[in-house]
Amino acid sequence: MKARLDGATLGYGTTPVLRGVNLTLQAGERVVLLGPSGAGKSTLLAAIHAQLVAGGERVALVPQDHGLVPQLSVRRNTYMGRLDDHGALTNLGRLVHLPQALRADIDAVLAPLGLLDSASRPVEALSGGQRQRTALARALYRGGAVIVADEPVSAVDAMQAREIMAMIAARFETAMIALHDVDLARSFATRIVGLQGGRIRFDAPAAEIAQDRIDRLYG
């Protein structure tokens, strides 16, 4: 088991967003969180991420706001996924100059995301979709057994979204991802968790969930 919440109350500061949360994340599972905005998906992801990290897990993270550094290039933002693998001096050096071998490694991640042409551009010069793919590149470059991602494909087109989700499924053994595209969720997830009004409404294998239960989340 990777993470577990038992009747937890979650929120920011003193205002609870989610109450009575029971949730587990097993190795090998791909869990998708569905629900209207404000349902508490990001809060839940943050709690799971914190627990995974506390347990010493190597987690790749795609926050909803991306957390990119606008002034740095796409390549360096991608490199930032592995900052903790190196010492401060190495990182300082690579801020000034990225060695050729490292560039090649990073470019191999950027190419399938269609970012190769923008690799040297600062993130602030990119479109919304390109920024989102840069945040994904950082997570893919980081690697590890688990990915936690908050709406990672909300700004790319449907076709690309499918490719990216397939890439995530191939790279990471375990995943917990918030999505808003129900079809995409069904095709990617092994398990779907429905959230609404600060509570978990259902938590079941993807194949067993009837469409009307999902529709009711947004109703």
Binding site: V53, V59, L61, P63, D65, H66, G67, L68, V69, P70, Q71, L72, R76, M80, G81, R82, L83, D84, D85, H86, G87, A88, N91, L92, L95, A135, R138, R142
Partner: protein, 510 residues
């Protein structure tokens, strides 16, 4: 929550205090008739004499060198301290560094390490390190936290800072450093008046010889140099300027100091005399009492009078001049003239202006008050004018023009930020009016200067502490007043911003 203070009431209060103090201020014009001298000076200034090219260029180059070296050193030290600014010891150290004015630092350092390039560079670098540490710490704190939060959790603190913080604050840091360099250029010129080889020294010697043409030439070059600072000081060129500055400063010859002078300064000279002579606490109290009665109280009284009257003059100058640079008020030619007027008064440091006025009026509070009012008024006029520039295009198309626009549309909208800036500079005016004592005006600086020239460093340090406490007091009153009036907060970095403080009206009637 207490009721909101009315800006009109506060303005009237300050006007009232200044009026009450006015009869106590020594505004006398020295015995002789100043007008013939003024005539000669103006005639000289109208015919700038660039003949002494070599002297001119050398003293300007040294002025830039001291400024660049001092600011670079201060910025580097401030940058190193900024991440630790939340620790009490570092914060207290920085506050102490910046509570002493550049010129007082220069006077102290000349005593401690001799009159040479290191004293001049440190005189700028020490207070600036304290300021930079505070500003950089604020910028780090205000940086977007999201990139930091997205970092791998076990990233070390240095990499965290280098990747997720430094790129975010580089632009504001550069802007602030450039602004500080402008301040450094003024401070560097002024330390010449106490003997370092910068512009002030040259200006003083031209004045002593009555060579007003040459004085005019050096002032024109200096103003051009400051006005064009953004053209010649490019971030890319900074390393070149820094190396050149230190190289030039290395050629400055300094008289040798006796061995152990610094140690004697630190271990003996700054210890209060009664303690040094073993007179104990009673002796110390007597010493303090005598110092307070003879020097601190009279100096304090004059400093405060000068400050309060100068603050009102500052406000008057700023209030009447901020419209000058708005095209809808003064037209295109009027706007250029307004800019020229404000640039000249802004570029010339208070101390230098006071020196000029002193030549004409002789030593009284008058030159100090005029200099403080004109310089600070021009700075605030410039800042409020910049805001007015941003407000003006948003006004209704059939808005009035000229001074009617100024009075009906701009003044009501901008009075709040005008007042906030005046109150913000109150403390700066106090510090500067204390400094002007060095010119022979009876403010606190006079007693510091004379204590140091008698090698009584202990007395100078005691008076410096009084100034630091006084400016802390004024700063807190000013902050309190601004909060009570619910004015938009003004910070040190606002003065460095190239964009206006606010494009929206801040003054609302309640």
């Amino acid at each position: 929550m207490a009721e909101r203070l009315s800006p009109g009431f506060v303005t009237a209060l300050f006007l009232g205090v200044a009026l009450i103090l006015l009869p106590f201020a020594d505004l006398s014009v020295a015995g002789h008739d100043p007008w013939p001298l003024l005539g000669r000076m103006l005639a000289g200034f109208a015919r700038p004499d660039f003949g002494a090219v070599e002297t001119l260029a050398h003293s300007l180059a040294l002025t830039v060198a001291f400024a660049v070296a001092g600011v670079a050193l201060g910025a580097a030290a401030g940058f190193v301290m900024a991440p630790f600014y939340d620790r009490r010891a570092i914060r207290a150290f920085c506050i102490a560094l910046r509570s002493v004015h550049e010129i007082f630092w220069a006077l102290l350092l000349i005593q401690a390490i001799g009159i040479g390039a290191p004293a001049g560079v440190l005189a700028l670098a020490l207070p600036y390190a304290g300021i930079f540490a505070k500003i950089f710490a604020e910028q780090i704190e205000e940086a977007d936290p999201r990139p930091r939060n997205a970092l791998p959790p076990r990233t070390d603190a240095v990499s965290r800072f280098l990747y997720a913080c430094l790129p975010l604050i580089r632009a504001p840091m550069t802007a602030y450093t450039l602004y500080r360099l402008e301040c450094g250029m003024r401070a560097s010129a002024v330390i010449g008046f106490i003997g370092l080889p910068t512009l002030g020294f040259q200006l003083d010697s031209f004045f002593r010889k009555g060579d007003y043409g040459a004085a005019s030439a050096i002032l024109i070059c200096y103003i051009l140099l400051i006005a064009s600072i953004r053209l010649w000081m490019r971030p890319r060129l900074a390393p070149f300027w820094i190396v050149a500055a230190f190289a030039l400063l290395a050629t400055v010859k300094a008289p040798p100091m006796g061995d152990g002078a610094l140690w004697r300064f630190l271990s003996e000279d700054i210890v209060p005399a009664p303690l040094r002579n073993g007179e104990g606490l009673a002796g110390l109290l007597d010493w303090l009492r005598a110092l307070t009665m003879a020097e601190i109280l009279p100096g304090l009284w004059n400093t405060l009078i000068a400050t309060q009257i100068a603050l009102v003059l500052t406000g008057a100058v700023a209030f009447l001049s901020f419209g000058l640079t708005v095209p809808a008020v003064t037209g295109r030619i009027g706007r250029l003239t307004g800019h020229l007027f404000l640039v000249v008064l802004r570029s010339l440091p208070e101390y230098m202006l006071a020196y000029l006025f002193l030549q004409i009026f002789g030593p009284s509070l008058l030159p100090a008050i005029l200099a403080l009012g004109l310089h600070n008024g021009a700075i605030i006029g410039h800042l409020v004018g910049r805001e007015a520039d941003a407000v003006a295009p948003g006004l209704r198309p059939d808005a009035p023009r000229g001074w009617v626009l100024w009075g009906w549309e701009l003044v009501p909208r901008l009075f709040g930020s005008f007042l906030a800036l005046c109150l913000y500079r109150w403390e700066i005016i106090l510090r500067e009016s204390a400094v002007m004592g060095i010119l022979g005006i009876a403010t606190l600086g006079f007693f510091i200067d004379s204590a140091l020239s008698e090698l009584r460093v202990d007395r100078a340090v005691a008076i410096l502490i009084v100034i630091a406490l006084l400016s802390a007091g004024i700063d807190s009153i000013s902050r309190h007043l601004r909060q009570r009036m619910k004015l938009q907060p003004v910070t040190e970095s606002d003065c460095a911003r190239i964009t206006p403080l606010a494009a929206t009206p801040v003054h609302r009637e309640t």
